[in-house]
Symmetry: C2
Subunit: 332 residues, 2 copies
């Protein structure tokens, strides 16, 4: 296994070369793992059987442009990047975006594999049981990569529904932020985590998240079922159990403004902001074209208003589940 | 509001009459709430507009038999009881069971309303935001009860899919037990809740729970979508955030036998055991009749083996999601 850093990873590559120690995972990597700086990419690719990309969503196009000239043949390529792109009036999955950014001759032979589902890296690195989905337009490509990666503790299912699987992988970051409002609001109200909390609130937001995910998956031409297994509910569940997005959502729930909350995150990458921004922009365009209804996504709209426009948290429960019930009762 | 206890609730009724204090919720009840002992049921019913039942699943038939002779007309009836019944080769929802146990003349005019979705009682009693589903064969009955119960903090959606909604309400208790295995296993392996945990494991079990719920709902003639909003994922999410079922599952994950774990629960009612027992018995019968496939429910089968037969926890990940993938790779 050869790990190649981007230009932003020089410190990690250095630590791995000197001590075989991964500073972010706080873990010694196994023998047989060698680290290379970005400048040595070509050397690292020599004789490689397959390629796995771990760049952030913003780096996907860069990675294709960096790899294009040095890839001498169409290797099996997997990627763990999560995100949404909206181009030419359509949402695009990152594996498709990556492929389209490769040189044409190469792209024709590659079916990039996206990886989705609940996977906290630190747990997988410690070989804790993990179940995920590998997805590629050509199912055989997903299966080939799964065959390489499968272990008793890393269970892999495969799917050719790239649009559906990848949509869930992206959206769960945005929705996890909303679920975390509950713990911030509870704390703001004087509650501690051990006291009566806002679990009912959190669970209602979870349910609405899945409801909107199913509709979004259908909108991008995927199978809504993706929202109801590993890529959707599974990944949403694990994302709520920790991570940056949850911390950020808790701060917003506490009543901090978007800018105050961002400042407290000390420069951590907040994928949820980028995803909410792309989601809102895309839905607005599609609604103008008559191809989507913004009212199908009241939660996503509120999350965008809070995280992007600095509006206060005020969960639109009465607009959940496609049904304005509470509005019509005259009692809210 | 008139609260009537069963014969098991004399202490609570006493506390409510003496101090307007609910000992289990640790809360003073509002003025206008009066408590009655079981012997005064008839008095309490006099002039009542509607009736809400809070008996456990085992008490549903008893409640119908107790109420039958004293109900002088068909009141709107709601019930929060959660459970599974299997009779005459079919799973039966509790509202249907209750109705069939009423005197025939009364049953013909009543469409009992089941209540499902994520609702921790202590939160609702403190008016924390809560979103639920009222379900009745006659949708108008669900809507009428919802109109009585709706408040700004208690959001109510309605559904006529009694079979689907109630199946989710019952199953979530069983599946929440399995999700709690993760924290017990983690503790057994020397981990604490703050350290690297088994969140990936828990999330995979969550996803498989939803997968099986969808299949079970279809089996009982409901709409699988019920598993993907409030009654399914919503209630499953909240049930994992606490409660008896989670504590019991954690003890099993720690490696305690079923009997040791039960002993530690100090006599707490474990609805999950009854539900798993009915579920297994019913699925076996339906499989013999060619109407169900046990292989659609590998997680439920394992949970029953652990909780009912005392087998050790060994999560059957490779049999999840209808696909024996890991078995075929030769690497597990």
């Amino acid at each position: 296994v050869r790990l190649v850093g981007t230009h932003l990873d020089e410190a990690i590559v250095g630590a791995l070369r000197e001590r075989r120690f991964h500073p972010k995972l706080a873990l010694e990597v196994p023998e047989g793992v060698t680290a290379f700086p970005n400048a040595e990419l070509e050397l690292a690719l020599r004789g490689a059987d397959a390629l796995a990309l771990g760049v952030s969503s913003a780096g996907v196009r860069w990675a294709a442009e960096r790899l294009g000239p040095v890839l001498t043949r169409a290797l099996p390529i997997a990627m763990v990047s999560k995100g949404l792109a909206f181009e030419a009036d359509a949402f695009e999955a990152l594996p498709d975006l990556f492929r389209s950014a490769l040189p044409e001759t190469l792209g024709a032979d590659v079916s990039p594999v996206g990886i989705a589902g609940p996977c906290i890296a630190g747990e997988l690195a410690r070989r804790a049981p993990t179940a995920v989905v590998f997805t590629a337009r050509a199912l055989a490509a997903a299966e080939a990569w799964a065959e390489l990666a499968r272990t008793p503790y890393y269970q892999i299912w495969t799917s050719s529904d790239v649009s559906g699987v990848e949509a869930c992988a992206a959206l769960k970051n945005a929705y996890a932020m909303g679920m975390a409002f509950a713990s911030g609001l509870n704390e703001k109200n004087g509650g501690s985590s051990g006291s009566i909390a806002l679990h009912n609130y959190e669970a209602a937001v979870f349910a609405q998240s899945v409801w909107e995910m199913r509709r979004f998956v259908a909108l991008v031409g995927g199978d809504p079922e993706q929202a109801s297994w590993l890529p959707g509910v599974g990944d949403l569940n694990v994302t709520c159990n920790g991570g940056r997005t949850g911390r950020f959502g808790r701060l917003l729930g506490l009543g901090l403004t978007r800018d105050e909350a961002s400042a407290r995150m000390q420069g951590a990458t907040l994928e949820c902001l980028e995803i909410l921004s792309t989601l809102r922009e895309g839905l607005r365009t599609l609604e103008k074209l008559g191809r989507a209804r913004g009212s199908d996504f009241p939660l996503a709209q509120h999350l965008a208003a809070v995280a992007l426009d600095g509006e206060p948290v005020a969960m639109p429960f009465p607009r959940f589940f496609g049904s304005p019930i509470a509005n019509t009762s005259g009692r809210t």
